[in-house]
Assembly symmetry: C2
Homo-oligomer: 130 residues x 2
């Protein structure tokens, strides 16, 4: 059984930075700032401050051996997503995972192809579970 993480949930802006770090593995503030600005104009110090706060929260680690710090995610994508899903299940779906899945399927955004993939995943999960 893996140890239950208790690190605070990333905010929306923090999550965006985590996505960049997950993709790049390791990055400077400049790297993250550039990636952020491909989507939406923002200030350099905004990215910097966010990453400093994330460091304080333990969401990222950083290498300070050089003047230009190197940042990396301290939480995994899977753990973070799982924690978000868990919280959504609790807060919005009364604790029922299958209600959430139902809603995700009913969103109309799911293609038949995706449904097929999901079905395969469930097959696998059921086999694994028993």
């Amino acid at each position: 059984m893996p140890p239950r993480k208790s690190s605070s949930q990333p905010t929306e802006a923090e999550l965006e930075i985590l996505h960049i770090l997950w993709a790049k593995g390791s990055a400077t503030v400049r790297d993250v700032f550039d990636a952020m600005n491909e989507r939406k104009a923002t200030g350099y110090t905004t990215a910097l401050k966010l990453m400093q706060i994330m460091f304080e929260k333990g969401l990222v680690i950083r290498d300070e051996s050089e003047r230009t710090h190197k940042y990396a995610a301290a939480v995994t994508r899977n753990d973070t997503q799982a924690s978000i899903v868990e919280s959504v299940i609790d807060k919005a779906f009364g604790g029922s995972a299958h209600a959430l899945v139902m809603s995700a399927l009913g969103s109309g955004k799911t293609t038949d192809d995706e449904l097929a993939k999901i079905q395969a995943l469930i097959e696998a999960a059921r086999r694994q579970q028993k």
Copy 2:
């Protein structure tokens, strides 16, 4: 095609009140306050203020014909949940619904029974879709 709602996303506290209203259909502030306090102690005026704000936001409607107003949800559970799921898919799962479902299934909270139900739902969804 149903008209796309643009009402603002309910906050966590607002969602809790919506759950109560969805369950009761219609309720006074007192009703909601009592229900809230079964889970967590809070002040009466806190519930009142939240509901007034929700009224301004259009999340609830109310009947003011009596001194004690009667509140009801103005948004459906399905629409609200769908909107939350959509936003989570976008913000945390890079737009991929099946990644979210995968995560929900991997949370370890899903029983085999639930998996079976989900499988049945997918069957239904696929039939409906084509």
